[in-house]
Amino acid sequence: MNGTSMSEKAIAMSGVNKWYGHLQVLKGIDLEVGRGEHIVLCGPSGSGKSTLIRCINHLEEIQQGTVTVNGTTLAQKGGNADHIRRDVGMVFQQFNLFPHLTVLQNCMLAQRRVRRTPAVEAKEKAMRHLERVHIAEQAEKYPAQLSGGQQQRVAIARALCMDPKIMLFDEPTSALDPEMVKEVLDTMVSLADDGITMICVTHEMGFARAVAHRVIFMDRGEIIESAKPDVFFSNPSHERTKAFLSQILNH
């Protein structure tokens, strides 16, 4: 029915409410993300940023509202979550590489098991993405043998191997030593330049300025403010946003 208008959007969340027991962690979230749009999501600890992006690929269930990804509305119990996860890649704060698999095997596993890609092809694609994140020469190493920044780049390559149309990043640089933040951000910038749809939870404001089309500020489960980066940083309209910005920019 409303297929045409919906299909222009990569992600549409409407009236999303979520509780953990009695604690409501998402309150009436309405969010539309266009194809190729880059969104930076920020807000204080516990405000629900992780929960919000984890609802998009159904790592979390919602109790009310709808989440639509590339025109497919997520069933409440997640019956079609697999379908949606095909289009959505995710990168975690803690990398979450598989420790018993080499870098190459990390990038091949889901291709083989989910897509049933033949080994040769899967390997070829894995190497292509590892090259793209400048880590192909470490393909035979295990995650524990890599630095944090290298591990996170492998995690990005691993997600890219599934040809996602949307990438979700949950504080991808927060667990990194300062000297490794840049290599990961550079990788993400190059992804953004390629036009992939992206939602990134981060407090890296330089990154937000460079690639975000919109910066969204969340507090206590609500979206408080959503604006272009220049407006967001120079002229935020809400008190809570101002307070938050003064805190993180003073760091």
């Binding site: 690929n57 995710m90 975690f92 803690q94 979450n96 598989f98 889901a110 295990y142 599934m162």
Partner: protein, 222 residues
Amino acid sequence: MTYKYDFEPVFAAWPMLVDGIVGTLKMSSLSMVMGLSLGIVFMLMRMSKHRAPRALAIGYIEMIRNTPILVQVFFVFFGMPAIGIRLSGEQAAILAMTLNCAAYAAEIVRGGVQSIRPGQIEAGRALGMHGLDIYRFIVFRPAIRAVYPALCSQFILMMLNSSLMSSVSAEELTYFAQTLDSQTFRSFEIYLTLGVIYLALSQFFSIALGMIGRVYFSYPAK
């Protein structure tokens, strides 16, 4: 005392002892492999989000862990013919040890699975993988690695417990030792020798399992 040690009849019966060692090795190894496999099935049931399989697994595990293995093998060997299942001593022994091992293995492996960070499973889900695939390819190896020493102790304990299987005439070491005893009456020498052989078998299993572990878990830890 005036007891005169005489190991001659014991050593003379070496072919019998070798048969016993082979029997013990065979029964123990088979029960370890099958027990671990079955244990993993029970572990999955135990961790299921559905109530029925979970209750079934808990019931099974508690029943096995709170009854003597001797009673279990008697039940299999003497009890099951009543429902038409007639097994040889060796078959009954392997079945009982497998069932016994499964209950312990299920609990040990469950501990390993619980030690896996949720992020590992989430990464698998985010990549579109399914429940069983996630277990098989992501959770399983690190989980077993985390509890491998405990699993090995359990295996060795079971190998030692296999001596109880002589009571259903399963042809393992203790069974042959008892036979030899009744022929020669050299109890002191026989059971001393038997103890030494079990000690050697324990060492053997310990080393062999350690080597398997080093190959299977050769990836570097954090």
